[in-house]
């Protein structure tokens, strides 16, 4: 284990850790607000065009949504364990759990891929590319605009999350983290949990409420 020197403007490692963590939390606030605005818009239009949204929701398979929810919940769990084992100086188990998180993220994206290609196959594209013939509502395209915008932005976050998990995974394998210094894992973990948090709301909103 190598001791890491904290940056010059902090008193010690703990000081740096607590500042960094606060920085991550503030960043997560901005993420929540950003996604929240989409939710607000969704609510308003859902209220204005209930039939359109009900029709759109029929194209979604709640089984796949539920599967992805379970996948993400497990990935949050393994992420938390990854940090737990860093705190306990157990690099091996930390690496294992981070790798599991990464795999679960990939599973989520694969399921998403199947869902998306099914919709593209039917011509259920967002906005002006919408080409489904048998739509009953005039603006069914709007539902799919929301669907793709929200799940797309969420999926983008999953990909970014997988990217940063890979980064901490490599560093963890090199044995750079220990009970005194695991700031990056903690930060990445918080980010990953927020992605899970957003999906916890997206799932009922899109798949169950209709």
């Amino acid at each position: 284990m190598t001791m890491r020197k904290h940056a010059h403007h902090f008193k010690d490692g703990d000081h740096e850790f607590s500042a960094s963590k606060m920085g991550v939390w503030l960043f997560l606030c901005t993420e929540i607000v950003m996604f929240g605005v989409l939710f607000v818009a969704y609510f308003l239009y859902h209220n204005q065009y209930p039939e359109t949204f009900a029709e759109g929701a029929k194209f979604l398979d709640w089984r796949l949504g539920a599967l992805n929810t379970v996948v993400l919940l497990f990935s949050s769990f393994t992420m938390a364990l990854g940090i737990h084992f860093c705190q306990k100086n157990d690099s091996k188990k930390a690496v294992l759990n981070l790798a599991l998180t990464l795999i679960l993220g990939a599973v989520f994206m694969i399921v998403k891929y199947y869902e998306y290609s099914h919709k593209f196959h039917l011509g259920l594209y967002p906005g002006k590319f919408f080409s489904y013939e048998a739509a009953e509502s005039v603006n069914l395209a709007m539902y799919f605009s929301f669907y793709f915008l929200m799940t797309g932005l969420h999926g983008l976050h999953i990909l970014i999350g997988m990217g940063v998990i890979t980064w901490v995974l490599i560093r963890a394998r090199r044995g750079e983290f220990n009970s005194k210094y695991y700031t990056p894992v903690e930060g990445v973990g918080l980010f990953w949990h927020v992605i899970d948090l957003i999906w916890i709301y997206l799932f009922p909103l899109l798949y169950l409420v209709g």
Binding site: H9, G23, M34, S145
Partner: protein, 528 residues
């Protein structure tokens, strides 16, 4: 040049590369200053083109479309590239750590990243000049912006998004710095008021900017994919765009002025050599302005088609902004009362701020009142009002701050007489430019028009003359600052005998700001 000044943050490393890769908050602040002066120059050029087109009635040298583009660039550049990053990123970056006795901001690398993001965003926005340009006005209102507007709109919108990210990261950095890096003994109620101003500003940056970020992305999606969120042809609600836009853009005018008010607090107390009157009242007023600022955005939309009841509600809440603002103005006046006042350039700018901002604030009440706004809405009255608050508030304060802290930033003193001449040009020119616009607006001259009826011609001509005087003044001021940096007399560590922490280190400060650990035992303005 700097040999006389000893080793400091400016001369500790040499070469352009050492600046572009620096993590020192003071150097990053200087880089922001240079970038923003350049953007302000661009914005000012556009404003002069506008004013000269409006000098006389009829078409002079711009077509209506060209006029719309010039007007949009003036607005977009001045808000997104100059006023929003202005005080926080320049003065805040340089002074926040110094004022709280820290060695740097909490995340120096993030700080540098913010600068690059600002430059990247600005570059994306400016590239649009070489395409079709953009003619929506800086507010990008749907459905015009989602439909027939020039295709260059996408660039400016994306640029504004990236600059928003830069602004978020700056705010995040400042909040973490203020919470984590204060010197021993500096409680929240012992922080200088400029730091409080920055704190209130950062809250707005963190919570409001993501709203406009996603809104701008939705606008891009609307143009590229036709998602229908804001486009009534597809079932969307264009008023929703205005709601989302102003939810950010109203707080953002407080974002421009709150740190400015912080500067004024510092300058007023330093040049009256008196403890500031009502420290706590000013602190709470800052936070109150930031808070109430989130509840009033609908007053931009009285005639937009939002419900009458929403208009009444927003009008009512808006009145409350007047209270904390007035509290601050009274506190500054009372601080000046019986102080040993020294009329130096920074104080002149602070007094100019009080004068101009009071007019801006009071005319704001006319516009916040539902019934009078029906008459004034979208006239030059509004244009004059927001220039009085934003130029009066932010620009006067920027210069007050720059002249006040310049001896600290570069270790050298500016020429007092030249500074005062510059102030006179800016102050007089500003009022000559914008006061006639109140009258024009009251007479019914609509804003954003490239032509007008002959009866408005005299006042427009006066306004154009004024704009030339202001811009001359700006040039004078920057030349004065540049000459001070190059040839000014050595200023000493504390030329104003001020009491906040930044004056207790050398001028310019060393790379790590202080040579010893700072300890604070009392309030920030100990002039007794």
């Amino acid at each position: 040049m700097s040999d006389l000044l000893g080793k400091n943050y400016i001369n500790c490393e040499k070469g352009l590369w050492s600046w572009l890769t620096t993590l020192d908050h003071k150097r990053i602040g200087i880089m922001y200053l240079i970038a923003i002066v350049f953007f302000a120059f661009l914005g000012a050029v556009f404003s002069l083109i506008l004013r000269y087109e409006l000098f006389s009635a009829g078409k002079d040298f711009l077509t209506a479309l060209q006029y719309n583009k010039v007007m949009t660039y003036h607005g977009a550049i001045m808000t997104f590239m100059v006023l929003v990053p202005g005080i926080p990123a320049v003065l805040g970056n340089i002074l926040l750590p110094l004022q709280i006795g820290a060695k740097d901001v909490a995340f120096p690398r993030l700080n540098l990243l913010s600068w690059y993001l600002l430059i990247l965003g600005a570059a994306i926005a400016i590239i649009s000049l070489f395409t079709t340009g953009v003619d929506t006005g800086w507010t990008f209102y749907a459905p015009y912006s989602t439909g027939s507007a020039q295709s260059g709109t996408i660039f400016v919108v994306l640029g504004a998004f990236v600059m928003g990210l830069a602004s978020i990261l700056t705010g995040l950095n400042f909040i973490a710095t203020i919470h984590q890096l204060r010197a021993k003994g500096m409680t929240f109620m012992r922080m200088p008021l400029f730091v409080w101003g920055l704190y209130a500003t950062s809250i707005i940056q963190i919570v409001a900017t993501p709203v406009v970020g996603i809104t701008l992305l939705l606008l891009v999606a609307e143009r590229v994919l036709g998602v229908g969120v804001f486009d009534p042809k597809l079932g969307g609600d264009p008023i929703l765009f205005q709601h989302f836009f102003w939810f950010y853009s109203h707080p953002v005018v407080y974002l421009m002025v709150l740190p400015g008010m912080g500067v004024i607090s510092e300058v007023v107390t330093a040049f009256s050599k008196k403890v500031i009157f009502g420290y706590k009242a000013i602190v709470y007023a800052s936070v109150a302005i930031a808070g109430v600022g989130f509840l009033v955005w609908g007053h931009h939309m009285f005639v937009s088609g939002q419900s009458d009841w929403a208009g009444v509600l927003f009008s009512f809440i808006t009145m409350f902004v007047g209270i904390p603002t007035a509290v601050k103005i009274f506190n500054w006046m009372t601080t000046l009362y019986k102080g040993s006042i020294e009329f130096r350039t920074p104080l002149l700018f602070a007094l100019g701020f009080l004068f101009v901002f009071a007019i801006g604030g009071l005319t704001g009440l006319f516009l916040a009142t539902l019934s009078t706004d029906m008459h004034f809405h979208d006239t030059y009255f509004v244009v004059a009002h927001f220039h009085y608050t934003m130029v009066g508030g932010a620009v006067m304060a920027v210069f007050a701050g720059l002249f006040y802290w310049w001896p600290k930033i570069c270790g050298r003193m500016y020429n007092e007489l030249q500074g005062q001449i510059g102030f006179a040009f800016v102050f007089i020119g500003f009022n000559v430019t914008f006061f006639p616009q109140f009258i024009l607006g009251a007479m019914g001259m609509p804003r954003r028009y490239f032509d007008y009826l002959p009866e408005f011609e005299h006042l427009h001509a006066v306004s154009t003359v004024g704009s030339t005087i202001v811009n001359t003044g700006m040039v004078i001021l920057f030349v004065v600052l540049y000459r001070a940096w190059k040839y000014g007399e050595i200023a000493g560590d504390n030329p104003w005998n001020a009491t906040t922490l930044e004056w207790q280190t050398t001028s310019p400060p060393p790379h790590e700001n202080f040579t010893k650990e700072m300890k604070v035992t009392g309030g920030p303005y100990d002039y007794a």
